[in-house]
């Protein structure tokens, strides 16, 4: 996996060409519930992934980027134009939503063709054929979409979204329910499209999917932007931050003494009956600590991370991102 520029996604806004998708201080709230909280970022050509747990606000952001939802405050722009209230923008934008909705009474062919016609494409039949071939649905194009399996519906939705050859493609959880073969096929297809210079944004809550596809990633947690940048770097960051462990053993003091001797440990603290150990090297510590205990003849009764919550990860990430603005990949 090279990070060659043709698949670069999100930029940090330093002197790059005008971003394809730009969000500026965007918030969205429903009554008292804040779905998206002051989010700003820019997306350029290539594949960008939106990563975050369920309910984090990824769908909301994608809907706003797709002009289907208006921001409560802030602005969303696509290709220089406002995203919402602007039907013309859809000439260049294709959207694939998460819900399984298709017009069940139409055949696959008719469904994609309808979308082609509604986009005003002069030669709708040719475009339809091209799109259907691209998603590998020729074999089922004459069947009613109402009878499609979930994966087939997903692919025909993608065909409908790319039939007008859009420059920007937005996909909400495209891998939901896809079997491994479909997943691979979709990954290849999206990569090919990205190489053609398109901008692709997709969302997922599964780390592994990001790994395969999204070189650039935006991490959304509780409606806020928690991290952005190269996926692997972020992953390392999430693991390589300082950790604190809570230890209960048969002899805390002796254990602390032994642990301090190891390079992975940065601090130990004895408090009441508890031992807190701080470390900068998660991997090394988890390997060494049991060995140290064993050679010192100490029984470890409990060894648990004490700051594993998403909040602490998030706090760390946000501090890191804000402090290290301009960190490119």
């Amino acid at each position: 996996m090279t990070t060659d520029n043709s698949t670069n996604g999100a930029t940090s806004g330093l002197g790059a060409a005008a971003p394809v998708i730009g969000l500026t201080e965007v918030s969205k709230w429903y009554g008292n519930v804040v779905a998206v909280n002051d989010v700003s970022f820019e997306i350029g050509p290539g594949i960008t992934g939106l990563l975050g747990p369920n309910g984090a606000g990824k769908s909301t952001l994608l809907h706003m980027m797709g002009g289907l939802l208006r921001a409560s405050s802030g602005s969303v722009s696509v290709l220089g134009e406002p995203a919402a209230g602007n039907p013309e923008v859809y000439r260049k934008v294709g959207i694939v939503l998460e819900r399984e909705a298709v017009y069940g009474s139409l055949t696959g062919w008719d469904f994609v063709r309808m979308n082609a016609k509604l986009h005003g494409i002069p030669d709708a039949d040719a475009a339809t054929k091209q799109a259907i071939v691209r998603v590998d649905m020729e074999y089922a194009q004459d069947r009613l979409t109402g009878g499609y399996s979930k994966g087939m519906k997903q692919r025909i939705k993608i065909a409908a979204a790319i039939v007008h050859d859009p420059q920007v493609l937005i996909l909400d959880e495209p891998f939901n329910g896809a079997d491994p073969r479909q997943r691979l096929h979709m990954i290849d297809m999206l990569r090919a499209m990205a190489r053609e210079g398109r901008t692709i944004v997709f969302s997922s809550h599964i780390l592994e999917e990001m790994e395969r596809l999204g070189d650039r990633v935006l991490v959304i947690v509780s409606g806020r932007l928690a991290a952005s940048g190269d996926f692997r770097a972020i992953r390392r960051l999430m693991v390589d931050r300082p950790h604190t462990f809570r230890v209960a053993s048969s002899d805390n003091r002796r254990f602390a003494q032994a642990l301090v001797g190891d390079a992975a440990v940065t601090a130990v603290e004895l408090e009441g009956g508890q031992l807190l150990v701080r470390t900068n090297d998660y991997g090394r510590f988890t390997l060494e600590a049991p060995r140290i205990a064993q050679s010192a003849g100490i029984t470890v009764r409990e060894l648990a991370p004490s700051d594993e919550s998403l909040e602490s990860v998030f706090e760390y990430l946000v501090a890191g991102v804000r402090g290290g603005a301009g960190e490119n990949s």
Partner: protein, 247 residues
């Protein structure tokens, strides 16, 4: 574009189970008319005409028409909203009014088709060869106008409320069926009254029900205003439409 969207809507709505039930509903007055034709023993001079105008102006206009328009009109666009397929209509460089017109057109065609069964069936059975046959084309046109008005209302309702069916039901059963009938002052706000008024204006047949109705000209004018306002509102609502978050 409009025809394309309308034809897809026709297929989507027309294939629902409720269409069959509505057709059965539309056949009820036809069956009652059959019963009348073959079982009635009295031969009052204009008995046929009285019966036909009664059935048409009450059963068909009060029950078959609004119920059909309700079930069809709320789902013309409502189904897209509920299922999420509305995204395919609005994420397009397509003028919103075209979408609305297409939906209203599809709803209108389906509703009119269903109610026409009642009108033509009743008329053919009861009035064939009689003086009062002009009631049939008169009510056919009137029902077409009424169907348009109802569908416009229900499409607008489906954009505004997620529980449009219940609200539409309340409108049909409370406002149209009860209040506007018993309080003559508000007749001018009732689609039912417009429909009967238009029918009255198109036929020289004179029965109690028709005579008591709204005059034809105000009926047409008010109905047109209603259709225009309703369509305008729907276009506006669709322009501002925001996709609902998944529950």
């Amino acid at each position: 574009m409009i025809l394309l969207i309308a034809s897809v809507t026709l297929r989507q709505v027309g294939r629902q189970r409720r269409m069959l039930l509505l057709v059965l509903l539309a056949l009820v007055p036809v069956l009652v008319s059959l019963l009348y034709r073959f079982a009635a023993t009295d031969d009052a001079p204009d008995g046929h005409i009285q019966f036909a105008s009664g059935i048409l102006a009450t059963f068909v206009v009060n029950l078959v028409l609004p119920l059909s328009a309700l079930l069809i009109g709320t789902s013309a666009l409502g189904q897209d909203i509920d299922e999420g397929t509305i995204a395919y209509l609005i994420a397009k460089p397509l003028a919103r009014w075209k979408v609305i017109v297409a939906k209203i057109l599809a709803g209108w065609v389906l509703t009119f088709g269903v109610v026409l069964i009642s009108v033509v069936g009743t008329g053919a059975i009861v009035l064939v060869g009689e003086d009062g046959f002009s009631l049939v084309p008169a009510f056919a046109v009137a029902v077409a106008a009424g169907a348009l008005a109802y569908v416009v209302i229900f499409v607008a309702l489906s954009l505004r409320f997620s529980r449009s069916l219940i609200i539409g039901l309340a409108y049909v059963f409370v406002w149209e069926a009860i209040i506007s009938q018993f309080i003559t002052g508000v007749r001018f706000l009732s689609v039912r009254a417009y429909t009967v008024g238009i029918a009255d204006g198109l036929t020289e047949v004179s029965t109690d029900i028709l005579d008591r109705s709204l005059a034809a000209t105000p009926a047409v004018v008010l109905l047109s205003i209603l259709v225009a306002l309703g369509t305008w509102y729907s276009v506006r609502a669709l322009t501002r439409y925001q996709i609902a978050e998944r529950v």
